[in-house]
Symmetry: C2
Subunit: 191 residues, 2 copies
């Protein structure tokens, strides 16, 4: 693995574990096992390296969410696949976590990939729901954009509740509750 790659991966891990403010350049160098000179050869500094790491993490999340949302099945089944996909719930979301870091959200550059990722996610879920409506699977009265925001929020908020409890049960309950509500919007013919 190249030095640059080791730096990006170490930063991804540290940001997830400790957040931006809790991640020192020294910790990144130690975890990557590279010297300070190498870091400044590839990156202008912590912020530049964090940007590369956040972009990479967001890209990976987008791919794994899209694998569920673009899979086979009805709109309900695809949203269910996204909500129920394997997650390391107690670690939380590496992108959602960044929104709690003041230095990240106050930097337009560092906030951009978070905004882009969640904007894409809400848009993609809304598309799936709208498709389900066009196919007559879901009630026409459902607001795809609002419901998509609800689905994305349930996952992010589920992490918060699970971490507070040090237990995945509240995450699972929140997902189960959301799916039951969404199931009530499945038309009798499609259900």
């Amino acid at each position: 693995m190249s030095t640059q790659e080791r730096l990006v991966r170490s930063t991804q891990e540290l940001l997830w574990e400790r957040g931006y403010v809790g991640t020192s350049p020294k910790a990144i160098l130690e975890r990557a096992g590279v010297g300070q000179g190498s870091m400044y050869h590839h990156f202008a500094g912590k912020s530049d390296l964090a940007l590369a790491a956040i972009r990479r993490t967001a890209e990976t999340m987008k791919e794994s969410a899209d694998a569920c949302l673009s899979g086979p099945g009805t709109a309900y089944e695809r949203v269910a696949a996204y909500l129920l996909r394997e997650r390391r719930v107690l670690r939380g979301c590496p992108i959602g976590r960044m929104t709690q870091d003041r230095d990240v959200v106050q930097s337009p550059e560092l906030r951009q990939p978070l905004d882009e990722m969640f904007g894409w996610l809400r848009g993609r879920i809304a598309e799936v729901l709208a498709e389900g409506q066009r196919r007559g699977e879901l009630a026409a009265a459902l607001d795809p954009a609002a419901t998509a925001a609800t689905v994305a929020a349930v996952v992010q908020g589920g992490y918060v509740l699970a971490r507070a409890a040090d237990d995945t049960a509240p995450f699972d309950a929140a997902v189960r509750g959301a799916l039951a509500l969404l199931a009530s919007q499945v038309t009798p013919a499609a259900g």
Copy 2:
């Protein structure tokens, strides 16, 4: 205001703004305008002071949530009052925020008030929903505990989405979507 009170309030503000790892004892002393000796007279250290601050914040949140949930109206209206209550959305939740701090969730003592607050919140929303079912206002098939976790997660996740976008719109959309789904569970007689 007593020195002790100034220390607690300053710590509440700093934890909300910067998180636990981002809050130094020095910053607390500066904001409270007290000397180091005074702090150690009242508190054993940062962790002890943070515990007092987190407990206080959790207590306040509980009171304001309960004011909505124990208010007048149907179960739907009370949950709606909770979801729609005035919030400084872009500041996020001072308690939810703490779940992203590794030092907080890894300390059983500091995590306890977060667990207690969200556990109480889910329980109280579930009670309101179960009451609505007993009164015939809500569909009997609704799972009160799971739906309560969904409602609590929508608020916490709504903050995450709003902070990523630097815009309250995704929070409002998530709440609107959740309320529309819940409204579909209101029985025709009650609705």
